[in-house]
Assembly symmetry: C2
Homo-oligomer: 104 residues x 2
């Protein structure tokens, strides 16, 4: 399992719109091959910065699969308008596992 780590800087003042649009965007994202889960977090110190974490089966599922798909176009059409700049994306592999409960 690979975690996509995207730091998204939203145009200041449009944070609430971004949050409101996210469920629709996630519904698109979740149709991608190899998608496992997605979480969105909002910065405490930088309140226009959001952290999107997406679990994928493999790196290729994200980089080669999703990004080349029509789903990516749909995804960006929904939430891209709120981006102040291109997201900073990296990937991580879990070292620990099974340690995190699902939050209510």
């Amino acid at each position: 399992m690979i975690v996509e780590h995207a730091e998204i800087n939203v145009t200041p003042g449009r944070e609430d719109e971004f949050v409101a649009a996210f469920p629709q965007a996630r519904a698109v994202l979740s149709q991608a091959d190899g998608f496992r889960w997605a979480e969105l977090h909002r910065g405490v110190e930088r309140t226009s910065t959001f952290l999107l974490l997406v679990g994928w089966d493999t790196l290729a599922a994200h980089v080669d699969g999703f990004r080349s798909s029509d789903l990516f176009v749909q995804w960006r059409a929904i939430i891209g308008p709120f981006f102040a700049e291109p997201p900073r994306v990296e990937h991580y592999a879990a070292v620990t596992a099974g340690v995190r409960p699902v939050e209510a």
Copy 2:
């Protein structure tokens, strides 16, 4: 719930030692008041960079509580020697919730 987001750059060549020491460090961290969970991930693009995510009941549990405690001293004694530089720490609040399964 608040997520501590720490980007840890480990001294190149000491990554395996850092990973081996982490369970002992987590055992200390998990004794802190307000601690919920901790996850460690390793960078795919930057392989000496680790992402530590820690769930806390509140921001204060981390910033005022843990960091002022003897547990913090113990924690840093265990894993601090592997840090190439001070970790970059920020905090996030979950926007989505309950979406992430525990990985096997």
